[in-house]
């Protein structure tokens, strides 16, 4: 499923963001793209933001129009789409998806060796307006919304504005923000976030080692450990909910148990700990030599670490692991975390008795993977 496409455009001289309507919309027309198919409009486009045409350009004049789209046929009422003057059409939000994410910025102040979304040194703070507008257009019945980057907090007040806007417009939407948490080293920044008192906010913050030098090396930023750890303390003080995320690879496995103990003793207030398999995106490929370890080879450490965390009363989930490489004791912690439309299975998976419980692979993850992928025989899965 493609989230963007280049279209032919007319009358678009700045980025326009609007909601999709396949049928005549009510009072919010000025925010709404009327969706046309095969040149046919559902109604008179007067008063609408513009027209998005799947296929041929409809006969309209004087209003913004993007036409010739072929990949975005899934668009439906309530979805939000941006169209840029250069014809770039971007799906920002799909109402039927459970995994809507706002990419806040592509800037980042870390450069993790396994970064799956490599940052760009581009000044993109002008995205903020689009994000704010997007939040205003998202259906308030949406259950979950993510925010990622890059590093979202780099927008500072802009970041706080996003959170506040979500509280205002989407008060029942759970907000999950991925951040390295480093700027919360500044106590007052954490205080300001806490003061917004968003009703359902969780920050997912990575911690890769109990040793400062090791963590700093993995994220390629000296001082990051100190900043993140003190940031966590400040966030706890102002009652911001935290999830700790650990990516499992050759650099984080050796001290994984010690990290679990460190989290249990020093971040006991974490709402959740996510232990994550390596995603084969981005910088992972160029750092593969130092990062790769077959998951089958670290099951002992993973199980012990999970037990330490569970025994400390923390909630633990394991992501991005196929069930056949995961110690069976850990299956109850495994989550199908790969979005429905991103995951695939391999030929050697055929006949597996637990495929429907297993997240499979990322599309990009099928080349570099465990040497031990194999079907779990049905007879072994008797309850």
């Amino acid at each position: 499923m493609r989230l963007h496409e280049t279209a032919g455009v007319a009358n678009i001289n700045r980025s326009l963001v609007g909601r999709i309507a396949r049928t005549p919309s009510g009072p919010d027309r000025a925010d709404t793209w009327l969706l046309a198919e095969d040149g046919l409009l559902p109604c008179d486009p007067a008063g609408y933001l513009g027209v998005l045409a799947l296929g041929a350009r409809p006969a309209v004049d004087g209003i913004p129009v993007a036409f010739g789209l072929r990949q975005l046929g899934y668009l439906d009422d309530g979805d939000v789409v941006a169209v840029d003057p250069n014809g770039f059409v971007r799906t920002l939000y799909r109402r039927s998806s459970r995994h809507n994410v706002i990419l806040v910025t592509e800037q980042c102040n870390s450069l993790c060796l396994m970064c799956s979304q490599p940052p760009k040194a581009v000044e993109d703070s002008d995205r903020l307006d689009e994000h704010l507008r997007l939040i205003g257009l998202i259906d308030p019945a949406t259950e979950e919304l993510g925010m990622t980057g890059g590093e979202p907090t780099l927008f500072r007040d802009g970041f706080l504005e996003l959170i506040a806007r979500c509280k205002e417009r989407l008060p029942s939407t759970a907000l999950h923000v991925l951040t390295n948490g480093r700027l919360f080293y500044y106590r007052r920044f954490a205080e300001k976030l806490g003061a917004i008192a968003h009703p359902d906010l969780m920050l997912g913050i990575p911690l890769y080692s109990d040793i400062d030098a090791h963590h700093d090396h993995i994220v390629q930023a000296p001082g990051a450990f100190e900043e993140t750890v003190l940031g966590l303390q400040h966030l706890a003080r102002y009652r911001v909910r935290i999830e700790i995320r650990v990516v499992l690879h050759a650099l984080s496995i050796p001290r994984l148990l010690q990290l679990a103990t460190f989290i249990a003793r020093n971040v006991p207030f974490a709402s959740h700990v996510a232990l994550m398999g390596l995603e084969m995106f981005g910088l992972v490929h160029q750092n593969l030599k130092v990062l790769w370890i077959d998951p089958v080879d670290y099951q002992t450490e993973l199980r012990s670490a999970a037990e330490i965390l569970l025994d400390a009363g923390l909630n633990v989930s394991i992501y991005n692991h196929q069930l056949c490489v995961l110690d069976r004791h850990l299956w109850p912690l495994a989550r199908k975390s790969i979005s429905d439309w991103k995951n695939v299975y391999l030929p050697q998976c055929s006949g597996c008795g637990v495929m429907e419980h297993c997240g499979g692979f990322f599309q990009s993850g099928t080349k570099v993977r465990s040497a031990h992928i194999q079907p779990v025989r049905p007879v072994e899965t008797c309850a």
């Binding site: 102040n109 780099l154 700027l183 080293y185 500044y186 106590r187 007052r188 900043e227």
Partner: protein, 111 residues
């Protein structure tokens, strides 16, 4: 059974503190000998009680007590600071850096 301790090696207070830990197992009689030496006599609590290696144990306990004394001295200031910081509303640690502004970013976190 008697152990002789050179007070140039172990301070008197430390020796007495260490002897205190033995009082459940024997009677302890410290006495000044000459030239800065302390003589510690260990006497069985009950007749027929064997003292075994108590004087050897006491000698080793003195070593450990000495280490404790050094560690306590080295860490005293930190310990007092930690306890005070734990209970104090104001900050006693030098937190000028964390009180910085996220825009000024004195530590250069955002770059």
């Amino acid at each position: 059974m008697t152990l002789t301790v050179d007070l140039a090696v172990y301070p008197l207070e430390l020796v007495l503190r260490t002897c205190h830990a033995f009082m459940a197992r024997c009677f302890v009689h410290p006495r000044m000998a000459n030239q800065g030496l302390l003589s510690i006599e260990l006497v069985a609590r009950d007749e027929g009680d064997a003292l075994h290696d108590l004087s050897g144990e006491l000698a080793n306990a003195l070593l450990d007590a000495h280490v404790r004394m050094i560690v306590a001295e080295e860490t005293r200031a930190i310990r007092e600071l930690l306890v005070a910081q734990a209970f104090c509303e104001a900050d006693l640690l030098d937190r000028r850096s964390v009180e910085g502004d996220e825009y000024d970013d004195p530590r250069g976190i955002a770059s």
